[in-house]
């Protein structure tokens, strides 16, 4: 495939019916009201020369290149800023226009380096193109006048350069930062000839507020803002459209390559999730895929203290199968199991759960969603009937009030955050419920109407109080509830009890009652109010209760089933939704159908030719407990680093050490592989062929840009293990796996690679009832029929601050790093976050004699680690915060065994800790148990 270049219409599309007829160069075109003449012309196949216009940005009208002639109008208006009018007749090419455009280009080129042949953007430069289009043949002014040709290049950013000598001051970068990303890091400094692009207050890009999303680079029409990879490697020659492998937004990208080498990742304009935008991870942090740390050969060892031995695939697969069968022979069929990965494709995940259920013969399969969004699965299924967010991402553009609970979208889901910020700048009101003052609370052009700065662990008390206000102040949408819901009266009596009032819970949550009442009224009174939430909801001992509490609140106010509303989990990893959809949970077959359902099991038994177990299998924490008690002996870990990501590291490592066989399939040797006996090298997203499903249920194709560096696709390896264990399991390609998923799973019945290649993406359910997918769920009725109100009793967590551990630790992620950092730590992103730090309030720091940058000891009742302190008044007094991106700090050494009552999702967000100044300066360290060989 050659290089894909999407059409640039010059200005954004306008909503509405194409009802305005205009004639451009003799061609009639119908467009919606408000459409620019430039866009109308482009839709008619007529490209008007332009430089400052691009269709991701509002028209600006500065370059004066897009002038047109309009019947009955004076002068030559700019087509980008001139809206169409019925009956308008436009000419885009006249001798006068040609002369004007040549004059404009002559001025631009008189102050531009004439180094086209050696310029990195040669062949991809709009200035170069326009010089050709307007027929520029000379520059009468010469090149010796005042100019910007000696302006320096800012190379401070690890991924792109800013060469000011090539800047034409079109402001596209500044506007992209404002309008697309919403960071407002760039500006035009100075006036007239002295005006130039500046990052922040005139420092370097790295010193500015720039978040390296790449929107400015994307918008730049010249080589002023240019990817360093293009400077080094040259222009790419072909594109493959694929899907980012980082967060749950699931952005579509064009992987642009020279041969098999990725030159750059460019956000795809037609991507349903991102519509041409990106963040620093997806846009730039792909270098890990070719990092020298990648392991490309299988390895085995007898004991975890032995050195690894590289072996051929056949030997490794045979070894795994023999050991698994031997353990089952000695300890029973239930003594082995597997963990699927949210970083892998739907097809890979489906293969792993099939291997466990059909070849292992048990339901001991779980997924890393256990430790993030399993409460979403439970809570939304109980109330609405299925485990999925209710909206598509676009829906936020119709929200009037946005309630963000326990999520930090600007860091965790930055491309969706840009959509959200755009809506907030248009006037939507914002309520943030978070212990920390996250960036959304106050950032350029955005200020939350309410920041409910609740104490960690009190979510349910807060959501109950919000619902209490709705019920007791007459804010219930009675019509919606009567038509669409059940069990309302009992819930109404429950939630109206005095103990749920804002006044009663103020001492628990720390949120002033007046503030909470105002927030509840704002949410309930909005024409459209939407809830977005993250792991600050789920990773609690009451994670599932809180999900149901939010579901109750949305139903009570009628905020379900249309654009602009809903209950929306922001999924952490790229394929959390998909890995759950694919039957990764030990109690559910693909499509969230319980293993005890005889009819469902029959579907799979008939196809797979094996009798399936009707009892739930072990969850991940149960696997650890059972490993320690000896009833569970072997674990296949697919693309997860449980020794770093799961809570209470000592417990996890004790379990891993107790196992007879640990098989790790991953890109890199990681913390878990220290306890492994077999290492099976995995494939990066650039080698995978399959699909990811993002947080809005959008199924996107993941297309390989190169063959697997390991020689095998991951699903192939899984199939070969199953076959070596005596179970025939074979596919010719990943498309066949999706065909099997569609055959067995009603919500995926209409999905195939062919369809995805044809339409781009679909959101499940996709079947005969919704052949093109379902952007918004529960429109005419809930999946379970009627939406069910569930009583949500607030039960305080057992984890409380004490005299010995007086602070509460909560954890999260930051923009530049991802999960355990296995990928992002192997990219240039480390410049932003070389180590995990502990954020704490100035008061908590001062009473402990801690200064910013000091090394501190962080201790809980289960473990201790050390890391550097960052003093920040975004933290409330008594609460500290860190991330778990670096194994050297090992934040999960201190997190505890407590978990959600319904799903066992760990309570990462509440750990009682003490922080003390370390007396000796040292690098971060952690007391990680040394692997011990079990004889």
């Amino acid at each position: 495939m050659s290089l894909i270049k999407e059409q640039d219409y010059g200005t954004p599309a306008r909503p509405g019916e194409a009802a305005v007829a205009v004639e451009i160069d003799g061609k009639e075109v119908l467009v919606p009201e408000g459409t620019s003449v430039m866009r109308a012309a482009s839709e008619a196949g007529i490209d008007i020369p332009k430089l400052c216009a691009t269709d991701s940005l509002e028209p600006f009208g500065s370059c004066r290149l897009c002038l047109v002639d309009i019947d009955g109008r004076k002068g030559t208006p700019a087509s980008c800023t001139t809206p169409v009018a019925a009956g308008m007749k436009v000419r885009t090419q006249t001798p006068k226009l040609a002369e004007l455009r040549r004059g404009v280009m002559e001025l631009y080129i008189s102050d531009h380096p004439l180094d086209c042949l050696t310029c990195p953007a040669n062949g991809d430069c709009e200035l170069q193109d326009m010089a050709g289009v307007v027929g520029l043949r000379e520059v009468r002014y010469g090149f010796d006048g005042e100019n910007h040709l000696d302006e320096p290049t800012d190379s401070s950013n690890p991924y792109f350069d800013f060469d000011a000598s090539k800047c034409i001051s079109c402001s596209r970068c500044v506007r992209a930062c404002d309008e697309v990303q919403g960071t407002f890091a760039l500006t035009i400094e100075g006036r007239g000839f002295a005006s130039k692009v500046a990052a922040g207050a005139g420092g370097s890009f790295m010193e500015s507020d720039c978040v390296s999303c790449g929107a400015c680079v994307q918008a730049c029409p010249t080589s002023t803002l240019q990817e360093k990879s293009v400077v080094e490697l040259g222009m790419p020659t072909r594109s493959v459209i694929t899907t980012c492998a980082y967060c749950g937004v699931g952005c579509s990208f064009k992987a642009e390559l020279r041969g098999d080498e990725v030159v750059r990742m460019v956000p795809h304009k037609d991507g349903g999730a991102n519509e041409g935008h990106s963040c620093v991870k997806g846009r730039f942090a792909f270098g890990y895929a070719s990092h020298p740390d990648r392991r490309l050969k299988p390895m085995v060892r007898e004991r975890i203290t032995d050195p690894w031995q590289e072996v051929e695939w056949e030997e490794a697969i045979g070894h795994v199968a023999r050991r698994m069968l031997d353990i089952q022979a000695r300890h029973g069929a239930s003594a082995i199991g597997g963990i699927t990965s949210s970083r892998c494709t739907n097809e890979e995940v489906y293969a792993v759960q099939k291997m466990v259920r059909a070849a292992f013969g048990n339901n001991n399969v779980d997924t890393c969603a256990r430790v993030c969004h399993s409460p979403t699965g439970y809570g939304l299924k109980q109330t609405y009937g299925t485990s999925a967010g209710t909206q598509d991402f676009k829906s936020v553009a119709k929200a009037d009030v946005i309630l963000v609970i326990g999520a930090n979208p600007t860091d965790g889901h930055p491309v969706f955050a840009s959509r959200m910020k755009r809506r907030l700048r248009q006037g939507a009101r914002l309520i943030v419920a978070d212990p920390r003052r996250i960036d959304l609370v106050r950032s350029p052009h955005i200020e939350a109407a309410h920041h409910l700065q609740l104490a960690p662990g009190t979510n349910v008390a807060l959501v109950n109080a919000l619902a209490h206000v709705v019920v007791t102040e007459g804010l219930v949408d009675r019509e919606f509830v009567a038509e669409r819901c059940e069990d309302f009266e009992a819930w109404e009596r429950f939630i109206a009890r005095p103990e749920h009032s804002p006044e009663a819970v103020a001492d628990i949550t720390g949120v002033p009652a007046d503030e909470l009442r105002s927030a509840a009224r704002l949410y309930a009174a909005a024409p459209n109010a939407a809830i977005y939430y993250g792991l600050g909801v789920t990773e609690h001992s009451q994670g599932s209760t809180m999900v149901m509490g939010m579901a109750n609140l949305a139903m009570a106010t009628g905020n379900i089933g249309r654009d602009g509303v809903g209950v929306n989990p922001l999924r952490g990893q790229n394929n959390v939704q998909g890995s759950c959809d694919m039957g990764s949970f030990p109690h559910e077959l693909p499509g969230y159908r319980h293993v005890s359902d005889d009819a469902v099991r029959t579907v799979f038994e008939t196809l797979w030719g094996r009798t399936l177990q009707s009892e739930p299998g072990l969850r991940i924490p149960n696997m650890f407990d059972s490993a320690i008690d000896g009833s569970f002996r072997a674990l296949f870990v697919h693309g997860e680093d449980i020794a770093q990501s799961d809570p209470n590291t000592q417990h996890v490592t004790a379990a891993l050490t107790a196992l007879e066989l640990v098989v790790v399939q991953d890109l890199f040797l990681n913390e878990t592989s220290k306890f492994a006996h077999v290492f099976l090298p995995g494939t990066s997203f650039l080698e995978k062929d399959g699909t990811f499903t993002n947080a809005e249920r959008r199924i996107n194709r993941v297309r390989p840009v190169m063959a697997p560096k390991t020689g095998k696709h991951e699903w192939q390896i899984v199939c070969e293990i199953a076959q070596a264990m005596g179970y025939p399991m074979k596919y010719d390609n990943a498309a066949q796996i999706m065909d099997e998923i569609a055959m067995t799973t009603p919500t995926f019945a209409g999905v195939s690679f062919d369809k995805l290649d044809r339409v781009g993406s679909v959101q499940w359910p996709c079947n005969d009832a919704a052949p093109e997918g379902t952007p918004i769920m529960h429109v005419d009725g809930f999946v379970r029929g009627r939406g069910r109100f569930v009583d949500t009793v607030y039960v305080p967590t057992e984890e409380r601050s004490t005299r010995k551990y007086p602070l509460i630790l909560t954890t999260g992620r930051i923009l530049s790093q991802y999960n355990v950092g296995a990928q992002t730590r192997r990219t240039g992103n480390v410049v932003w976050h070389p180590e995990d730090v502990l954020e704490l309030h100035p008061h908590d720091a001062e009473v402990r004699g801690i200064r910013d940058g000091d090394m501190v000891a962080l201790a809980s009742r289960v473990g201790e680690t050390s890391l550097r302190a960052r003093i920040d008044d975004r933290m409330p007094v008594g609460v500290v915060y860190t991330t778990f991106h670096h194994p050297t700090t090992g934040a999960n050494v201190v997190t505890t065994e407590l978990s959600d009552w319904a799903t066992n999702c760990p309570e990462y967000k509440v750990t009682a800790v003490q922080v003390a100044l370390k007396q000796t300066a040292s690098a971060p360290s952690v007391s990680v148990p040394v692997p011990v060989v079990v004889e």
Partner: protein
């Protein structure tokens, strides 16, 4: 805070009980039993039943009544 070596399944069962305590005991027991049947692996259920039968004092009394409603796990 939990300092005692209470086994994981006992602790989890007791936590579940807290979330159903506002219901009348018979309804609560039925709902908890349904939850445990749906989500707990057979060997965990077996341990819970054994603990209840052995009079494990760490068990919430509501869970003792739940255990009586749990069928013996199907042999796998």
């Amino acid at each position: 805070m939990t300092d005692s070596p209470m086994s994981a399944h006992v602790r989890l069962a007791n936590e579940i009980a807290l979330h159903f305590r506002h219901r009348d005991p018979a309804t609560a027991a039925e709902e908890i039993a349904a939850h445990i049947r749906a989500f707990w692996e057979p060997r965990m259920r077996a341990r819970l039943i054994a603990d209840a039968e052995a009079g494990n004092g760490d068990l919430d009394p509501l869970i003792v009544s739940v255990a009586a409603l749990l069928p013996p796990p199907v042999a796998g």
